[in-house]
Symmetry: C2
Subunit: 272 residues, 2 copies
């Protein structure tokens, strides 16, 4: 039997998918649900505990008491303000070393990963455990981007990489070359809804999600699921693009079906 | 008497301030109000006409018929989709030469400025006419940024310049190092409102507006007015920073008073 997997659970359905995948291969899990991101009720019946992000000592104790040696982070976690973090002595020790001010989301998660490694945990990425979730190249469903959409995707990737280089959000919506919206702390769903309202006449907008240049891939890879497709459909966007091999697609067949049903494309773009 | 000034009016109060300034020195004006950006009703009693952005031939004819030789663009104008632009033959000629797909807002406005120059107009910037509107260095009111705010301003400028390098919005809101929001097509007021709602515990966010690296300064310099201060106050932000000499402050004494009344800082930062 594989050793127990510790899952640091952020928001969204990805941590639950990991639990399912482990159950399918009889791998035991222990979920540490991060307060403010994960919903502990989702983990009823699964070995788990809730912990504040700032409660570093308690988090480490819970993982050790539950026999965790291998650890994965799954689901987005926003960097809190220092006041909201309320760091305990262990988290304060980490902050004293790395500082907090200059960190973006990825910098914050990378720092946490390094901290766990210093404590002797083996930290893996979701893609190491579930490589089949990585977005393939090309359209997932029956619809492919047309020439205008391809140009919008290219512009979206350019802007997303510029944003990522300063460690801000992963998502951009572009319509006919016009950048309708950029993701920061509001999250992708709010971005999609807003950008939908800002669309001008003609062919609709495209959601582009990209990893940050040099991003710690074990932390919060861009993720697309059925809910993302449905949100884009509601907003009147025409498609979703991610970088092939650099984003996670949760339940690929269901995403493809949802895209076909809504008349949207979901495409993996080869990273140039 | 100075020659007649043509004012290509976008949104906001800046074009009206130019009209006032010209009136004060008896300089005649002709306002070309851009549909979808300027409100023609604002120009009742002032020589003006309304024109669609895509009606290039009509715009040029109106300017010439009204004896305009010197021209200024004032107030933001968003790049429309091609479908919404509905270019006439003259605008289509320009688009055929420069393309539209890859243009951001500044690229679009720069292209229009170049086009007017090719047609023989002398295009000046608002700051050439009203240099006193340029933001000075230091706080405008009684309140100055504290250490945390200074760090947030620095982070905001870093992110704004990264965004500007790919010709997207000018404004960013940062709280305690966390980028709460980025401006794209929604405009600064919507950004301020959204970022206010996303604030975490502790010292509030700071609005940072910056020019794009290499921006055509005759097009849409970042602008701050009393309305900006009031919007930030409503949203619970703690201050506004612009680059000294690279942004316009409309009615500096009123902005300083509004900032003091609301307990906010408005500061011009020396560009490093």
């Amino acid at each position: 039997m594989a050793p127990k997997l510790g899952i640091l659970a952020g928001s969204g359905e990805l941590p639950l998918r990991l639990v399912d995948a482990c159950r399918a291969i009889d791998r035991p899990v222990f979920v540490l649900a991060l307060e403010g991101a994960a919903n502990p009720a989702d983990y009823a019946g699964i070995p788990h505990a809730s912990v504040r992000l700032g409660a570093g000592a308690e988090g480490l104790r819970l993982l050790r008491e539950n026999g965790v040696e291998e650890l994965v982070m799954a689901g987005p976690v926003r960097r809190p303000t220092l006041a909201a973090l309320r760091p305990d002595w262990r988290a304060a020790k980490m902050l004293a070393r790395i500082g907090l001010r200059a960190l973006g989301d990825d910098g914050f998660l990378s720092a946490i990963i390094k901290e766990f490694e210093l404590e002797g945990f083996h930290v893996v990425g979701v893609h190491d455990l579930l490589g089949s979730l990585l977005a393939p190249e090309g359209p997932l469903g029956k619809i492919a981007p047309d020439t205008q959409a391809e140009a919008d995707i290219e512009r979206g990737l350019e802007v997303a990489h510029a944003l990522g280089a300063v460690d801000v959000g992963q998502a951009v919506v572009v319509q006919q070359g016009i950048v309708l919206g950029l993701e920061a702390a509001e999250g992708t769903d709010a971005l999609i809804e807003r950008a939908g309202r800002l669309q001008g006449e003609g062919a609709g907008g495209v959601l582009v999600k990209a990893v940050k240049p040099g991003q710690e891939r074990r932390a919060d890879l861009p993720t697309v699921g059925v809910a993302t497709v449905q949100a884009c459909a509601r907003a009147g966007l025409r498609g979703i693009a991610v970088e092939a091999g650099m984003a996670l697609v949760i339940d690929r067949p269901a995403v493809a079906t949802a895209a076909d049903d809504a008349g949207l494309f979901v495409a993996g773009i080869k990273r140039s």
